[in-house]
């Protein structure tokens, strides 16, 4: 759900930032089961085909799962990234987001066949697994008017959410596992269930006697610290599904995943119900099986001599890009990404393995990090940033480390440098097509060379040293892949004919590169099921194997006639190695677990989907509407449920209603409650809150505002009186993680007895005022793999608060500046946080002051757990105790590496990590008046513990302690804080 929400948020901003007139209107195509929304007319060419793919897959799933959806599925077609992707949720709506771009085929982790078909086969499994409801689910959905999204404002919504969609509370490996498993058979054998990469990962674990996570540890540690991060959900999930299918049969697997009337709510309970063994036991059985299975595969490989290599580095490099060898410097250049440090380009000396940092890579990709090309004559590397969005093209001098942006949003990768004419070549992805482009010096503009037909893709290109030939891997609609070559002169004249060098069938010809003399091409393939290095002889027109590897070799770089460098896969990442350039006579194949499933249970072959051809699916006859889509016309109630809140020291009971459109552009939340306690004056017993959100605008109104967390003091946000406000937010720069935005808020208050922002400050001379505030925010934060929060970066804020009270204006201005950097210790950073402010009002006026004090956390809370970082916080003193009309504050913070737990709890409740931050601050107010000036210092720390309930509900338990000294007090004051932040 979070991923889909992020995609939708990005959609909203990207759509609004588009300036060309073509991108100004949403359109939809609707059938009985589908609402396909597109925001760009240039995507229209693929809409009918995508709709057919949807209907085709939908029919299959309806039959297999006996599935009747609760509502139509909304499908948002987008072009937010240069590589295709998909995401799905069923709460509160059935919603799928589909990226139009081609997939990335690194290590064969994505299928190479037609992607819309593959995506629909996969994503609809998520919808079915989440949306298929039992009788009791339907009852609760009816009672609560929909499928409830848990919100932190009303934590009881977590319980209701579980009642309406219990299968949402399953771990990611479960959902991705079943989707990848089914997708493989629906696609006729193309997918992770028959994936060589997955076999390699587990084979390597067994070989190295590495720890294979249990199903709790996987979520707790395995999906966060590994260099493959969230890919582990796919790996483990698909693997476990494969094992269960092999052991118990695919039909029972479907029975496990189906939410029928007879099924158990919790996915683990349902497992035991279907298979008669606990999930924990079955997982353990799988690990035992996996060790035997992979040992047999290793034995098979070892039938013939295993290649020997020399490791060039004592450390693993995590994920690596295409690499280049500089013979004169004896260095390898590559982009690398491993836990603890942000993605960066590095130079590694092959003599001693020393790694030098050259420059950071903003937006490194999971598997390939960045696309690289090297001009050896100028010693300049070309590389891409924003690899998960629209790629920028950059260059960096490897000597000086000075980098330069060449083309923003070039959307080009698979770079190759032509030494003959110094041009750079690449493959550009734009609205779903792959285009071979040429970028001549000074590399500020690109030229189209050849656009491939939709469904075909060219990747891993390379150019011979003489500049005459280009090779690359060509993927067909069917998923077949070939190594091809093209004549560059002919290409420049518009002749894009190609010659097939080698047909790899369904195996990917990966990263084939020319030898320096152009006589050979070296690359890798999972031909035998293991990624080995192959060498093609252009003269003899023959392909031979050079290695027999136990794990896998990738990205070869020919060094000399008798040697080559490659990257060897290990459980913690890739290691550069030196190998002999010699033919391997015999290589045995391994066995795929997925193949064993097919042989033992041929029923999976019946799950092969017929192609979504026009003859079998007439989308025109199925279409019920095609035209403009206005989100506001599709707003409907998504939930209505009872809630409890706190008002001052009293409980209040009521209802909350949520409404929105399917793509969450417009949202309405309305809460009303009543405090029955007679101690409250009659005029304060009724409470209401209205929150409207539409695109950039937000409107908020309250009456005697109540809050759930006021039930758990000491911080109280409930207030007597009325308020109405409007807010507008706009992005000036949206180049994540670099953003600049401004936020303007205007509010009116009346009937007050305390200040809205400072609970300990009462007001007597007035009860109403207007407030207008503005905030300009610029931030650029980065984090490494395995981080629990941002680890390095910069943020600057300028904030203006202006209150208009009794005819007097009280303007206040403040500025915050945060700067952090990573220490050489992984995941440990130093932060400097400065803040200063000035108020133009009279010192006696409450509105004219800034107030400081306390950690600020409530015992049960929903705001940021690390509130001690806010400018108004000062742990060690009481809330709002220190005031002033001007101030300066400086905080030094040291965040220690998080302590992660492999297994600390059970499936339904466990602790992920603990994270300690130590800080010291200094604060001074009223500089301009020595008699009123206050100075305080503190030291303290906060320990945060991440808890997970029911697989997806994250909470943070925080403990804080601080000691403060103030200039006019003889002794220090202390504060101890404990707080549980619900929902993240």
């Amino acid at each position: 759900m979070q991923r889909v929400q992020k995609i939708l948020a990005a959609f909203a901003y990207a759509w609004l930032l588009q300036s060309a007139p073509a991108f100004s209107q949403l359109s939809s195509l609707e059938t009985k089961n589908l609402r396909l929304i597109s925001y760009d007319r240039s995507h229209a060419f693929v809409v009918p085909h995508l709709a057919r793919c949807f209907e085709n897959a939908f029919r299959f799933h309806s039959k297999l799962f006996s599935y009747t959806p609760t509502e139509e599925v909304t499908l948002l077609l987008q072009d937010f990234g240069d590589y295709g992707n998909g995401g799905a949720t069923a709460v509160p709506f059935n919603l799928i987001s589909v990226g139009i771009s081609p997939f990335h085929y690194a290590y064969e982790t994505s299928p190479a066949n037609e992607r819309m078909n593959a995506l629909m086969n996969h994503e609809l499994v998520h919808i079915v697994a989440l949306d298929r409801a039992s009788e009791s689910d339907r009852l609760f959905q009816s009672l609560f008017s929909g499928k409830i999204v848990p919100t932190r404002e009303n934590p009881l919504s977590m319980l209701y959410s579980y009642l309406t969609t219990p299968r949402r509370y399953s771990p990611r490996w479960y959902h991705e596992g079943i989707a990848s498993f089914l997708e493989t058979w629906m696609d006729g054998g193309i997918g992770r269930a028959l994936g060589a990469y997955d076999e390699m990962v587990f084979r390597t674990m067994v070989r190295d006697s590495a720890y294979i996570y249990d199903y709790v540890g996987l979520e707790s540690e395995g999906t966060t610290i590994d260099f493959q991060v969230k890919a582990n959900s796919y790996l483990y999930g698909t693997r476990f599904m494969n094992f269960v299918a092999y052991q118990y049969g695919p039909e029972r697997l479907i029975q496990w995943v189906s939410r029928t009337d007879e099924s158990r709510r919790f996915f683990a309970s349902q497992f035991e119900h279907v298979f008669g063994v606990s999930l924990e036991q079955a997982w353990s059985d799988w690990i035992t099986f996996e060790r035997r299975w992979q040992q047999a595969n290793l034995d098979s490989i070892r039938l013939h001599p295993v290649s020997r290599h020399r490791e060039l580095s004592p450390q693993t490099l995590g994920s690596v890009s295409r690499a280049f060898y500089d013979k004169s410097q004896k260095k390898i250049y590559a982009a690398i990404n491993y836990p603890g440090q942000v993605a960066h380009i590095a130079a590694m000396k092959i003599d001693d393995g020393a790694v030098e940092h050259i420059c950071d890579v903003k937006g490194g990709a999971l598997y390939y990090v960045s696309s690289l090309a090297y001009d050896s004559s100028s010693r300049v590397l070309f590389y891409t940033t924003d690899n998960n969005k629209w790629r920028d093209l950059n260059m960096v001098d490897v000597e000086t480390g000075v980098s330069k942006l060449l083309i923003q949003d070039a959307r080009t990768g698979d770079l190759a440098f032509n030494h003959a004419d110094k041009s750079l070549w690449g493959v550009r992805h734009f609205i779903g097509f792959s285009t071979l482009v040429r970028i001549p010096p000074p590399y500020t503009d690109w030229n189209q060379v050849y656009t491939l037909p939709y469904g075909k893709d060219l990747f891993d290109i390379d150019i011979a040293a003489d500049g005459k030939t280009l090779t690359g891997a060509l993927a067909e609609v069917s998923g077949n892949q070939k190594l091809i070559q093209m004549d560059i002169q002919k290409l420049m004249k518009g002749d894009h004919s190609s010659e097939i060098i080698f047909d790899f069938d369904s195996n990917s010809p990966a990263t084939f590169v020319f030898s320096p003399d152009g006589r050979f091409s070296f690359g890798t393939s999972y031909y035998s099921g293991v990624s080995n290095i192959f060498r093609y002889d252009f003269e003899k027109k023959s392909m031979v194997a050079l290695t027999n590897c136990e794990t896998g070799y990738f990205r070869p770089i020919p060094v000399s006639d008798d040697s080559l460098i490659a990257f060897n896969y290990t459980g913690t990442g890739f290691v550069p190695v030196m190998l002999t350039n010699r033919e391997q006579e015999h290589v045995s194949a391994i066995n795929f677990l997925g193949q064993a499933v097919v042989e033992r249970h041929p029923i999976v072959t019946q799950w092969k989907l017929d192609p979504p051809s026009e003859s079998s699916i007439n989308i025109d006859s199925l279409t019920t509407y095609s035209g403009e889509y206005r989100p506001i016309d599709h707003i409907k109630v998504t939930s209505l449920y009872p809630m409890v809140e706190g008002y001052k020291d009293f409980a209040s009971f009521g209802l909350r209603m949520n409404a929105s459109d399917p793509i969450l552009i417009n949202e309405i939340d309305l809460s009303t409650s009543y405090s029955p306690n007679a101690l409250l004056p009659a005029g304060e017993r009724l409470h209401a809150r209205l929150n409207l959100h539409s695109w950039r605008w937000r409107f908020l109104a309250t009456y005697n505002a109540a809050d759930f967390y006021d039930l758990f003091g000491p911080t109280k946000t409930s207030r007597k009186g009325y308020s109405a406000g409007v807010q507008y937010r706009e992005f000036l720069v949206f180049d994540e993680p670099k953003t600049m935005d401004y936020l303007v808020t205007g509010s009116a208050y009346w009937g007050l007895e305390r200040l809205p922002d400072f609970q300990n400050v009462s007001i007597k001379s007035f009860d109403r005022f207007l407030s207008v505030s503005g905030r300009l925010n610029y931030q650029y934060f980065m984090r490494s793999i395995g981080a629990v929060e941002e680890e390095t970066g910069f943020r600057w804020q300028m904030i203006s608060h202006n209150n208009y009270v009794n005819g007097v204006l009280f303007p206040r201005l403040l500025s915050n500046l945060d700067y952090g950097f990573l220490l050489p210790v992984s995941h440990s950073s130093i932060w400097l946080r400065g803040s200063s402010g000035y108020s133009f009002g009279e010192r006696e006026e409450a509105f004219a002051k800034f107030y400081f004090g306390g950690f600020g956390n409530n015992w049960i809370d929903y705001l940021d757990s690390k509130r001690f970082r806010e400018y108004y916080s000062f742990p060690g003193v009481e809330l709002n105790e220190i005031g002033g009309t001007n101030y300066g504050k400086l905080t030094l913070e040291w965040t220690l590496p998080p302590l992660r737990f492999r297994r600390f709890g059970v499936q339904s409740f466990y602790m992920n990590w603990m994270h300690l931050s130590l800080f010291a601050s200094g604060l001074s107010t009223n500089f301009d008046n020595p008699s009123l000036k206050q100075t305080a210092v503190n030291v303290g720390g906060q320990l945060d513990c991440k808890l997970v309930m029911f697989s997806t509900q994250e909470s943070t338990l925080s403990f804080g302690y601080a000691v403060a000294w103030r200039d006019h007090l003889p002794s220090s004051t202390k504060e101890f804080m404990i707080s549980l932040k619900l929902l993240k």
Binding site: A20, P21, S42, A44, F45, V46, P48, H49, N113, E114, N117, D187, G188, G189, I190, L194, A196, A296, D299, S300, F430, I431, G432, F433, V437, D445, W446, N447, Q448, T451, P453, Y454, G455, V477, S478, N480, D503, F504, D505, S506, Y527, S528, G529, S542, Q584, E585, H586, V587, S588, A589, N591, F592, G594, A596, V598, R600, T605, K608, P611, S613
Partner: protein, 373 residues
């Protein structure tokens, strides 16, 4: 095991196994019993067999995992064998070769190796040997010719992994809508244009949208010469010129532009040179000349073939430059004289033409002019 009667070993062993299996006849059981009573070794051995059989009977049947079978098979590296077809060819070659060698009855039994390779027979033998060698090499490596499907993607000694694969989606199954349009916008030129502020502005213009629909304009856009013209910097400047823009709007000019003769003139190389001439450009700007160009009589004169010839005449060109002649042309009386038919006849007269050249007559004319003024 030691058996007293090695010749009976197989028989007794069989009886033992059949006894354990319970399939011996009474006679066979009795025979076995007698043998065991006489031979302690056999009795011990039989007891062992019984014990093993009992133990095996207690073991439960297990279905081995499929990878076990494959692993065992993989462990057995078998040399390449001939296929049936290859074997058949090989047999034929051997047969023929043998026949070749041994058709002579004498040679078939008593031929020595050295004799085989001498004389006529030697030639046959050698030829046969060569054929055999070729056949062996061919069969070992080349025959039967590999089916194209099998040959594509095979890599020497590398065993291909077995993976289930069924029929896949094909290009014909992917039917798109107006794919051509989507591919057009992939070009760098289109993308640059689309980002251009001015283009964005004009794209909204209704007249421009109409123009784009015009078939003639679409044809013009395809014209290579027009494409070249659009690149020309001078033409780009001209397009900005307000006067040119006015000219484009002028109905008369639009008519002229349609005129075929005008089109021909525009193509004429000499006229193109003239257009570049600075003096001509000055003349075109001259207000008096512009007036003259509007004059219908002058337009007629320009069409006159004789006048066209006159304009080419070098002497006439010199005359036109002459200041005195220019003055004369302005003179009203001279203009009248030029209209006079008699004077026109006189001008054609050869004698008069000679007289005009005469120096003395020229002096006389000057004196007469002086006296007149």
């Amino acid at each position: 095991m030691t058996m007293t009667d090695p010749d009976n070993f197989d028989h007794i062993f069989e009886l033992m196994n059949k006894e354990i299996d319970g399939v011996n006849s009474k006679k066979e059981s009795a025979e076995l019993k007698r043998h065991l009573q006489k031979h302690a070794d056999s009795a011990r051995y039989f007891k062992k067999l019984q014990s093993i059989s009992k133990r095996l009977g207690r073991v439960k049947a297990v279905t081995p995992p499929s990878y076990l079978r494959t692993t065992i098979v993989n462990s057995i590296y078998a040399p390449k064998k001939f296929t049936e077809a290859q074997q058949s060819v090989w047999d034929t070659v051997i047969s023929k070769f043998t026949q070749l060698l041994f058709t002579n009855k004498e040679a078939s039994m008593e031929q020595t190796p050295t004799n085989l390779f001498t004389g006529k027979k030697g030639i046959f033998v050698l030829s046969g040997a060569i054929v055999a060698v070729v056949a062996i090499v061919y069969l070992a490596g080349l025959y039967p010719p590999a089916d194209t499907e099998d040959a594509v993607g095979t890599i020497g000694g590398v065993q291909k992994a077995k993976k289930y694969r069924s029929e896949q989606i094909a290009e014909k199954d992917v039917v798109l809508k107006n794919e051509k349009n989507a591919r057009v916008i992939q070009s760098d030129k289109f993308q640059k244009l689309n980002k251009n502020d001015r283009f964005q502005k004009i794209a909204k213009d209704a007249s421009f949208q109409e123009l784009l629909k015009d078939a003639a304009f679409q044809e013009l856009l395809k014209d290579a010469a027009f494409q070249e013209l659009l690149k020309d910097a001078a033409f780009q400047e001209l397009l900005k010129d307000a006067a040119f823009q006015e000219l484009m709007k002028d109905a008369a000019f639009q008519e002229l532009a349609k005129d075929a003769a005008h089109a021909e003139l525009m193509k004429d190389a000499a006229f193109q040179e003239l257009m570049k001439d600075a003096a001509y450009q000055e003349l075109m700007k001259d207000a008096a000349f512009q007036e003259l160009m509007k004059d219908a009589a002058f337009a007629e004169l320009l069409k006159d073939a004789a006048f066209q010839e006159l304009l080419k005449d070098a002497a006439f060109q010199e005359l036109l430059k002459d200041a005195a002649f220019q003055e004369l042309l302005k003179d009203a009386a001279f203009q009248e004289l030029l209209k006079d038919a008699a004077f026109q006849e006189l001008l054609k007269d050869a004698a008069f033409q000679e007289l005009m050249k005469d120096a003395a007559f020229q002096e006389l004319m000057k004196d007469a002019a002086k006296e007149a003024y």
